[in-house]
C-alpha cells in the first residue's frame, strides 16, 4: 500500500532514483505541452493561448480524482500523503509576489527549467533570477519571519473547511474546472494568436 516510501516498501535511495525518473516524466510533459515557451504561457492572461489553464487544471483534477480512487481501493493511504500547511498571510502575499513574477517574467520555476533545457536563453535568465530571489529571501529572513509564520491554520483540506466530504469537494473542483475550460475555449476563438 502506498505511499511506498512512507510505508518502508522501498528504500530512501530507490526513492531518489524514482524522483529522477518522475522528474523526466514531469519535464517531458511540460515541454511537449508547450510550457517551454513564455509567449505560450503568458497567453492565458490575454486569452490568445490558454494552454496553461487547460493543462494545469486537467492535471489537478486528474491527480485529485486518481488519488481519491486509489484510497477508495485501499491502495494509497491518504493520511500519509503530505498535505501542504496553510499559513494564510504568507500564502496570499507569496502568491501575489509570484503572480507579479509570472506576468513580468513569463515563466514559473518548473517551466523555466523546461525552457532552459531546450535552449531558451530567457528561461535561463529567469532561473538565474530565481536563485537571486531565494537568496534575498533567505538572507533577509529576520525581516519577514513574522509574516512567514503568521496566521497558521494547520494543514486543513478544502473539504474540511467547507464542511464537505472529500468526494463532494472534488466534484465541485471538477465542475469549476469544466466551467473554466468553456471560458478558455471561447477566449481562444475571440483573441487572435500570432505564430511564435
Amino acid at each position: 500500500m502506498g505511499p511506498l516510501v512512507v510505508n518502508g516498501i522501498i528504500s530512501e535511495n530507490t526513492n531518489l532514483l524514482l524522483a529522477f525518473i518522475i522528474g523526466i516524466g514531469f519535464g517531458f510533459v511540460l515541454e511537449s505541452s508547450g510550457f517551454s515557451s513564455s509567449r505560450k504561457l503568458a497567453g492565458v492572461f490575454y486569452g490568445y493561448d490558454t494552454v496553461v489553464l487547460k493543462v494545469f487544471f486537467t492535471a489537478a483534477i486528474t491527480a485529485m480524482l486518481g488519488m481519491l480512487f486509489l484510497s477508495l481501493f485501499g491502495w494509497l493511504d491518504l493520511d500519509l500523503v503530505y498535505v501542504n500547511p496553510t499559513y494564510l498571510s504568507s500564502a496570499i502575499i507569496g502568491g501575489v509576489v509570484m503572480g507579479a513574477g509570472f506576468i513580468i517574467g513569463g515563466f514559473c520555476p518548473g517551466t523555466s527549467f523546461a525552457g532552459a533545457s531546450i535552449g531558451k536563453i530567457d528561461a535561463m535568465v529567469f532561473v538565474g533570477g530565481l536563485f537571486i530571489g531565494v537568496i534575498i529571501f533567505s538572507e533577509g529572513y529576520p525581516l519577514w519571519d513574522n509574516l512567514y509564520m503568521a496566521a497558521f491554520n494547520g494543514s486543513p483540506k478544502l473539504s474540511e473547511s467547507l464542511g464537505l466530504s472529500d468526494g463532494i469537494a472534488a466534484l465541485g473542483v471538477i465542475l469549476a474546472a469544466i466551467g473554466m475550460f468553456y471560458v478558455a475555449e471561447w477566449a481562444e476563438k475571440k483573441f487572435p494568436r500570432e505564430e511564435y
Partner: protein
C-alpha cells in the same frame, strides 16, 4: 541544354530544401493536446504521491542547491541563519533531496521532448514589439520575484498550487488563486511585452 538541366536541378534542390525546412518548422510548433498533456501530468503527480507520499515541486530544488553551496562557502553563516538552519534540520544533506533529483530529471525530460520535436535551439523568445535585451531584463526580474515569492509562499506553482490542489490542501487553492489572480490583474500593464 545541359546548363538548363543543371539549373533545373539546382532549383529542385532548393525547393526540396525549403519544403523540408517548412516541415521542420511546422513540426517544432506541434504540441500535445492540452487536455491529454494535463492527464499525463496528473498521472506523473499521482506517481509522485504514490511512491514518495509527496507532490511535485521546483523552487525547493533551487533552495537546496543554494544551501548546499552555502554550506561549502560559509558553514558558520548557514548555522546562524534561522531559515537555512531549519531546512538543514529536516534535510542534513541538502543535495540528497527528492526535489533536487526530480528537477535534474526535468532538465533531461525537457531536453528529450525538445529533441524529439526539433525544438532544441538557443534563442531569446520575445514579442516582436520588444527587444531581446528588454525581454531578458523582464525575465530576470520576474525570476527574482518568483524566487522570493516561492519561499514566502512555501512552494511555487508546482509545489504549492498544483500539488496542493491535488491533495485538496486549502493553502494550495489560496496560493493558486493569488498567483493567477495577480497575474490577471497586472496583465494590462505588461501587455506590450506579450501582445
Amino acid at each position: 541544354m545541359r546548363s538548363y538541366k543543371s539549373f533545373r536541378q539546382i532549383i529542385n534542390t532548393i525547393e526540396k530544401y525549403q519544403t523540408m525546412e517548412k516541415e521542420n518548422k511546422d513540426r517544432s510548433r506541434r504540441y500535445l493536446n492540452p487536455y491529454l498533456g494535463g492527464v499525463l501530468l496528473g498521472l506523473v503527480l499521482i506517481a509522485a504521491n504514490y511512491i514518495a507520499g509527496r507532490g511535485l515541486g521546483a523552487s525547493g530544488a533551487v533552495k537546496s542547491v543554494i544551501i548546499a553551496a552555502n554550506k561549502v562557502i560559509a558553514p558558520a553563516h548557514v548555522e546562524k541563519n534561522a531559515f537555512y538552519a531549519e531546512s538543514i534540520k529536516q534535510h542534513p544533506n541538502p543535495l540528497k533531496n527528492w526535489l533536487v533529483f526530480e528537477m535534474a530529471g526535468v532538465l533531461v525530460g525537457g531536453f528529450l521532448s525538445g529533441s524529439l520535436w526539433g525544438r532544441l535551439k538557443l534563442k531569446v523568445e520575445h514579442s516582436p514589439k520588444i527587444t531581446s535585451r528588454k525581454r531578458l531584463i523582464m525575465a530576470g526580474t520576474g525570476g527574482v520575484l518568483f524566487g522570493f515569492g516561492s519561499q514566502l509562499g512555501r512552494g511555487c506553482t508546482s509545489g504549492s498550487a498544483l500539488s496542493g490542489m491535488a491533495v485538496l490542501s486549502l493553502g494550495g487553492f489560496i496560493t493558486m488563486a493569488a498567483i493567477f489572480g495577480t497575474a490577471f490583474a497586472l496583465a494590462y500593464f505588461f501587455r506590450k511585452n506579450w501582445i
